[in-house]
Amino acid sequence: MGHAVAATKFSSRPLPRFRPCVVRLMHAPAPDHSALIARVAQDRDRTAFAALFAHFAPRVKAYLIRLGAAPNLAEDVAQEAMLSLWRKAHLFDPAKASAPTWVFTIARNLRIDQIRREKRPQIDPDDPLCEAPRSAYDGLAWSQNEAPLRLALAALPPEQAKVIELSFFGDCAHSEIAAKLDIPLGTVKSRLRLAMARLRDAMVDQL
């Protein structure tokens, strides 16, 4: 009897909601790097800088090594990247990019400048020409929460993940990716387009 009552009681409750615990654990709240950058900008805060250094310098170094730089050179350029962060902190706008994205652009540009020995043509973030009414689509860049993007990246089909990886870590323009994978240029472009559409949708969904 007791059993029957218990069963009835249980079924009258709403079903427990599925909670993706693993995903939540993987994306435990990250330290607020944007706030640390703001402290560097406003107060020239060395403690904040040290925390940013501890987090980002080894990542920038790994990025450079992955793109073919010798470890010593990668160490030096990662060091320079962190000094750039100190110098440019007041130009960081968390409404336009997340902290890792901003650090990525610094590392990318320094690599072109110091390792590839070319100039990096850039537009200034506050170029008045670039001020246009912001649509929801433009708002993609404002996102501080990168978890959905990371999830979408991890969920890309392997052939799309490969072209994204070669784009960022192979120093390969589209035509070189085509040659490397021995597939037509059109296929590279369509895979990249599909991948970017998925990633964009992942970002839009969270808005």
Partner: protein, 200 residues
Amino acid sequence: MLLDYASGAADEGVSLIVATHLCFCPSCRALVALAESVGGALLDDVAPMRGDALVNALARLDNVAPEPKAEASRDGTPSSLRHLLGGDLSGVRWRAMGPKLAFANLFRRGQTRARLLKGMPGGDTGSHGHHAFEYTLVLQGGFIDETGSYGPGDLQVATPDIVHNPVADPGEPCINLAVTTAPLRFDRFIPRLAAKTFGF
């Protein structure tokens, strides 16, 4: 092109074209921003720094001055070009290449050349083909050719198989940013001679 620019794989010529186009085009800016966030998200692997790296960095901070904010343009010159020109488009020293056509060299890297071209209303470049790619971005005014008409911010990517003769629109002069990855191929003798003389 946009993704190559965001990842850093694009060369300097293509990067200049893309950066300058971004000034005119919010939707391409959004796509580049998205691709840059991908770069940020991929900044995940770790290679340990040397033990004294942080101490060394901290010791150098005093000598690092904050980067000054960029000076604004007075005539709406995109900042990507201001960095190269050291000033505005209105300060460019043009070299005449005929009564209605002038140019200014920006840089040369291997076979790639970046230039500014100015066509007075009705001026044309002469019919030409390409050995490789020609990227033409309209900065001011506009032009028309066999493939259509182009206005400020529009980008034409001419592949080797395209033969065209761009003609500047009536009204204000047409100013273009042109990046070529190999010399052009002119059909007629005089433009061919002029092109050779001026290094096109």
